[in-house]
């Protein structure tokens, strides 16, 4: 998905408060390494067609790893899963859906919660401390708007996992991240059919998103 916006990235480089807040949340990377994320983001761009696979590989390879190694990556993923869980919980509370769609939303919310539990366990297992749950705020207006937002959120989640795959050191952690990654993709495609948007927003090759891109995209949802 093409969520990159150099303008916003540049703004984040200057906005010390925002980046420190997020980095503290994902496990204490310094401002210097944030610069590396931004550089990686500026250097990558979404391409289409036959170059997409090469582009995906290049982006995955060049993107800077979060500080803290696998624990840092897991805490980053945990933060995103917390937000997704919170989102589905608020959507369900708003009582906008019924029938099959409601059932799917419930399933997806429960699955995000399962990801939270799994990631917390993995962080602890590696000797790290799971990040705390951030406050989330989401615009909940009507069924169509919420489903479209869910589609955006799930596409971002899938891109975020893909963006970190090559940074993960442990094969076990990688296997776990992949098992979650493809479920986020299934969610995104399902919501795509619901809101009549592409099940494959980037065609035959999914495009990864690095941390700064994801940070920019989730910023409006942090309470």
């Amino acid at each position: 998905m093409s969520v990159e916006s150099p303008g916003i990235v540049e703004r984040l480089v200057r906005d010390d408060t925002d980046r420190k807040r997020f980095l503290k949340m994902v496990g204490g990377a310094g401002a210097a390494s944030f610069g590396a994320f931004v550089l990686a983001a500026c250097g990558s761009s979404s391409k289409s067609g036959s170059t997409a696979a090469t582009s995906a590989a290049a982006t995955a390879t060049s993107a800077a790893a979060p500080a803290g190694g696998d624990v840092g990556i897991l805490n980053y993923a945990l933060t995103l899963e917390y937000l997704e869980t919170e989102f589905y919980s608020k959507v369900l509370a708003a009582n906008l859906f019924k029938g099959k769609v409601l059932s799917v939303i419930k399933d997806f919310g429960a699955q995000e919660q399962a990801h939270v539990t799994a990631l917390k366990g993995a962080v602890s297992k590696l000797g790290g401390t799971p990040v705390t749950k951030p406050a989330g705020k989401f615009p909940i207006e009507n069924a169509t708007q919420v489903a479209e937002l869910a589609y955006t959120v799930e596409n971002l989640g899938a891109a975020a996992y893909l963006g970190q795959a090559a940074n993960i050191q442990s094969p076990e952690v990688l296997a776990s991240a992949l098992a979650i990654h493809s479920v986020e993709a299934r969610h995104a495609a399902t919501l795509g059919t619901l809101v009549k948007k592409p099940i494959l927003p980037n065609g035959a090759f999914a495009v990864p998103a690095d941390m700064s891109t994801v940070l920019t995209a989730v910023k409006p949802f942090l309470g």
């Binding site: 997409a52 769609v101 539990t117 990654h181 399902t190 795509g192 099940i199 494959l200 999914a206």
Partner: protein, 231 residues
């Protein structure tokens, strides 16, 4: 609001509503005892024992012959890429040639046309990656698909796409090259999206294994894909 491609009543979440705490355990999705490079050698030998060397050969050009030296480094990556290439050949033939024979309609026809194109792009990308690593892409085998109508076609499509997800998820942690891992990750996400779309079309859960897509060993993959390979 409803899903545009589902018509009947059964819940999409049939059988998957209950997400137990046990499912959330990381241990359930760990690759037990897997070391880098072991995926192919162990998998090929096991699969060869079940299906015979000729069924296995198209999947891996060299793993059997070089098993004494173990598939490692770029050799291991090439083997995994050739394994993936065979699955993508299979999917491309299925959506392109078999779909025409069967004669699909509506959403099934639209998906088959779209997915055929995307699987063909995966074939091209994998062949390119294999060559870049100094390997030789396996030749396209002949396939036989036991389907005769739209219903059986979609049922097999679901099996193939969901198996594809498990195959990539199972093989990816054994890859050495980060660039190859990036390509595999990019492709598996697309397979997962295909799988969800096909499952929705046939009123199956888009997340048939719940919150975690389990990795599949080569033996598990061959149990489903092997019988479809004629030569």
């Amino acid at each position: 609001m409803s899903f545009n491609n589902t018509t009947a009543d059964p819940e999409l979440s049939e059988g998957h509503a209950e997400l137990t705490a046990a499912q959330a355990q990381m241990g359930a999705i760990e690759v037990h005892g897997m070391t880098r490079g072991s995926f192919l050698v162990r998998g090929t030998l096991a699969a060869g024992a079940v299906y015979g060397a000729s069924a296995v050969a198209p999947f891996v050009s060299q793993a059997l012959g070089s098993s004494s030296t173990t598939a490692s480094g770029s050799t291991g990556d090439v083997e995994i890429l050739n394994f993936a290439l065979t699955l993508e050949y299979l999917e491309t033939a299925f959506y392109k040639e078999k779909a025409k024979q069967v004669g699909l309609s509506g959403q099934a026809k639209a998906y088959a046309a779209q997915f055929a194109e995307e699987e063909a792009q995966h074939v091209a990308a994998l062949m390119g990656a294999i060559k870049e690593m100094g390997g030789t892409p396996v030749a396209k085998p002949e396939f036989v698909f036991p389907v005769s109508n739209e219903k059986t076609f979609l049922a097999l499509a679901s099996v193939l796409e969901n198996t594809g997800v498990g195959a990539y998820n199972g093989a990816a942690p054994s890859l050495h090259s980060k660039a190859v891992l990036g390509v595999a990750g990019s492709i598996v996400q697309v397979e997962a999206r295909h799988a969800a779309a096909i499952n929705l079309l046939i009123e199956k859960s888009p997340t048939p294994d719940g919150a975690f897509d389990p990795p599949q060993t080569m033996q598990q993959v061959l149990a489903k894909a092997g019988p479809l390979i004629k030569s």
